[in-house]
Amino acid sequence: MKLEVKELCKNYGRKEALKSVSFSLTPGIYGLLGPNGAGKSTLISILTGNLKADSGKVCLDGEDVDKMGEAYRKILGYMPQQQALYPAFRVRAFLDYMAALKGMEKKEARAQIPAILEMVELSEYAGSKIKTLSGGMKQRLLIAQAILNDPDIIILDEPTAGLDPKQRIAVRNLISRIAVNKIVLIATHVVSDVEFIAKELILMGEGKILRKARKDEILNHMRSLVYETELTEEQYGGLPSAWCIAGISQLEEKLFVRIITENPDPVWNCKEVRPSLEDVYLYYFGGL
């Protein structure tokens, strides 16, 4: 199975939201990283059919998804960034309705819904009205509806927004479990969402794909760009402004500063360190 995005362009008036975006996805988890306004949601809206591109196309196994229509949507699971729910519906009734929308058979839905609720830890709230759920529960419900029909392509837009650390880990683990032989695209600007589970990262900024590669490749590229040094407060004030400060920690009167720079100055006694994905994010999107 291969999902290809070919030369997608989208403008909102004069603003170019997508500039000739192209990439392809095979089964596995992909992290779509980028700051706010990078074009992630626009790209996802086009992939899910909520928006039409100005030019370019999306193909699944060589076939245009627009022409595939229902056949494409049948294997698609989508979780939007907005909490798109009917407040007056009960949890089970909402999943029931989504099952009907996804064209599931009644028997299949009857079997799947309790299992899905169990997976997202909402079994206890199956009879509750959605408006009584907390924000995190609503997120989990949205994830549940996205995977309800066991889709081959799962698109999650900010899946961990509003979740506490334990829930975030739970969601990550859940995604890893269900991602076997599926294309899972997770759009996020929270690096830790995809750090451990993504097979490849797609870095997106200003409507363009900046980089698409495996995590280790991207991190390799960052070698000799990330340093740490030990400074006093007075010395810290004199750091070159062109350097990107990735982190500061204080121990007694010493400051341990993590820096991203292409030109380390030996004056500052910088020690090269292993880069992390946060460093990658800052490097590409931190204005360096």
């Binding site: 899910t48 229902e70 989508y78 407040p87 509750s128």
Partner: protein
């Protein structure tokens, strides 16, 4: 506060439809007014004379004199002396009119200003626009979930509500000026406005005005009073929006409350013991011109209170109470919600059913009937119709009773026997007349006394009502006999019930039924399309396997079924009521048996025609439902759909209702 008010104005006028539709609404109001004026003058056949010359039978001086004289007579009468109210009321009236000596109203004054201020369709337009704006101002943010963001801010409670209220007040001012300004321009363009400095008493129907003001001053004061009145009424609606918190309930409360007030205003007499309810009334203050064209004191626990005072009291009470309650309710809403949940908690148990159906139809039914209160609205419609048609409004006078009696004899196919019977009956009346004539002659000749003559007169003179009833039946029968010699299916039928059902007598009731139907359809279906947008669930529906098309197909079918059900509830009662009172018979006979259709070329039976009519009514309901659904799919907001739907369905209904009532 000024910033908050500016913010509210911006939010209101960011609603693009308002900027497009409002001018159209003003234009429509102007067109309808000019059409009304033209029709009135054509009917009076005064096409070339634009001035209605209703020269007062009495001069103004004589009119004032008559008030004094009448007051003196009443004061001399014993029955008035015992009553404080009567004495004081008379004194007040005299005192008010005594100030008007010296005023010289013009004769032959044009009636244009009356059209400007008394055209009730403008009130309907104003009413609808205010409701649409209130929904936008008060309910849109709640529907979009923005209140969670706004209310926790420093100015997010009392000041916010104050700003919204002041925005409403200023917008109402703008609307009043624009609507009545349009009326003024139309009347001016048709050359119906006379000299502005003429006394208000020059205006037709305003002779009894207690004010010494000019026509121009009257117009400005009218605008001011109208603004105050609409503000007061809007204040109450403002409170309803805060209490009800959703569009359906808010509009229902508004319509119910105002309809109740209107019924009280229209049905209670000025001098009834219930007159305080009539005067301390929202509908009374909306009928603003009545404060200017007459002076009335009503009995308020024995104290004469003028209608103007009553109006002021109503305004102050409405504004103060509504505003205070609105601020209090809005500010303490969270605790109200918590208390409500405490109350409802025993009833809000989690449903543990494992029944699943994975059906789109079930999901959409749930949305329409439960979430959008569709079921509640149908039940309410049923209750309204049962109450409306519970009591029969019909009245059978003597003539009608005789006509009915003769119709029972003649009912059915035409025959020689029946024709003979009519002749016999005619001869009977003639014989009576001859006998009576004989008695008159005997009396003239002195053979019988006056008392005996009186006796014969009472015995031999048939009641006029009986004669008229017979005449009506006879003419109908003879007409049918002459016109439809060869048509075997034409029969004599008792007409009154059929006239009520199918003729002009029942048109106003029909229009009112249609208006109720359209209002319910508007309330239930206006959110059928917008709900997916406001809840963002359209983001899930579009990429799903079934997609938006499948959902819309289900909604389309539901819409049709709902409209059909609503139509059945609305239209079933009138024929039942009429049939119960008049008994509608002869549905198998030709439609030409009914006098109102005697010239028709359709060779159909009465029953078939009735079937077609009711099918058309059902079809129009379905069409209306579909149109509302389409509007709700195209527009992003409920307020827009309601406003548009109101213009398409409710305004024409109101216009036709007024026209039928004339």
């Amino acid at each position: 506060m000024a910033n908050l008010i500016t913010g509210e104005w911006k939010k209101l006028f960011q609603w693009k439809f308002l900027l497009i539709l409002l001018p159209l609404v003003f234009l429509l109001n102007g067109v309808l007014l000019s059409n009304q004026i033209t029709r009135d003058f054509d009917e009076n056949q005064n096409i070339d004379r634009w001035i209605i010359n209703e020269a007062e039978p009495v001069s103004y001086v004589d009119f004032l004199q008559s008030i004094d004289e009448q007051a003196e007579k009443m004061q001399d009468a014993a029955v008035f002396n015992g009553s404080y109210f009567n004495r004081e009321s008379l004194e007040k009236t005299r005192s008010v009119y005594s100030r008007l000596h010296g005023i010289r109203p013009e004769t032959d004054y044009p009636t244009g200003m009356r059209y400007v201020t008394d055209y009730h369709m403008t009130d309907v337009f104003l009413f609808l626009t205010v409701i649409a704006l209130l929904i936008r101002l008060m309910l849109q943010e709640r529907a979009e979930g923005l209140l969670h963001l706004i209310k926790p801010t420093k100015n997010g409670r009392g000041r916010l509500i104050g700003a919204k209220y002041l925005t409403l007040v200023t917008v109402v001012f703008l609307l009043v000026v624009l609507f009545y300004g349009t009326n003024y321009l139309v009347a001016g363009a048709m050359d119906l406005l006379g000299r502005g400095d003429a006394a208000i008493q020059s205006l037709d129907g305003y002779m009894a005005s207690p004010f010494a003001i000019s026509i121009n001053t009257y117009f400005y004061l009218f605008l001011l009073c109208k603004w105050i009145a609409v503000t007061a009424v809007s204040s109450v609606f403002f409170l309803f929006c805060i209490c009800c918190r959703n569009q359906v309930y808010s509009i229902l409360c508004i319509v119910t409350a105002f309809t109740g007030e209107l019924l009280l205003w229209l049905s209670i007499e000025d001098y009834s013991w219930l007159s305080p309810i009539r005067q301390l009334n929202l509908a009374a203050i909306m009928d603003t011109s009545h404060y200017f064209n007459d002076y009335i004191n009503f009995n308020f626990f024995g104290i004469p209170v003028s209608s103007v005072t009553a109006g002021l009291l109503t305004v102050v009470t409405a504004v103060v109470v509504s505003l205070l309650l609105s601020v209090r309710l809005f500010s303490s809403e969270a605790s109200v919600e918590a208390k409500k949940n405490q109350w409802l908690h025993p009833f809000n148990r989690k449903k543990s059913t494992t029944k699943l159906s994975a059906s789109l139809l079930q999901g959409e039914c749930k949305k329409l009937f439960l979430m959008q209160r569709g079921l509640f609205l149908l039940a309410l419609l049923l209750v309204i119709q049962v109450i409306s048609y519970w009591d029969s409004p019909f009245f059978t006078d003597k003539e009608e009773a005789y006509y009915q009696k003769y119709s029972q004899i003649l009912e059915g196919e035409l025959s020689e026997e029946k024709a003979e019977w009519i002749k016999t009956e005619e001869e009977r009346f003639e014989a009576l007349s001859v006998k009576l004539e004989e008695q008159y002659q005997r009396h003239e000749q002195g053979e019988i006394s006056s008392a005996v003559l009186e006796y014969y007169v009472s015995e031999l003179t048939p009641e006029q009502a009986e004669l008229n009833g017979f005449k009506r039946a006879k003419e109908q029968y003879q007409y049918l006999q002459e016109q439809f010699v060869k048509d075997e299916n034409v029969a004599y039928l008792y007409q009154t019930g059929w006239n009520q059902l199918l003729g002009p007598e029942g048109r106003q009731a029909e229009v009112l039924d249609f208006a109720k139907l359209f209002l319910i359809l508007l309330l239930a279906l206006s959110t059928l399309g917008t709900i997916e947008k406001t809840s963002s669930v359209e983001l899930l529906i579009r990429p799903s396997a079934k997609g938006s098309n499948a959902v819309n197909r289900v909604k389309f079918k539901l819409c049709t079924a709902y409209a059909f059900a609503a139509a059945a509830i609305v239209f079933i009662w009138r024929p039942l009521q009429i049939a119960d009172y008049y008994s509608l018979s002869g549905i198998n006979y030709s439609l030409r048996s009914l006098m109102i259709f005697s010239q028709t070329k359709w060779p159909v039976s009465v029953g078939l025609y009735l079937g077609v009519i009711y099918l058309l009514k059902a079809a129009s309901a379905v069409f209306a439902g579909q149109l509302i659904f389409c509007l709700s799919r195209k527009c992003r907001q409920e307020s827009t759909v309601f406003f548009l739907g109101g213009i398409i369905f409710l305004i024409p209904s109101a216009a036709v209702w007024f026209y039928c009532g004339l």
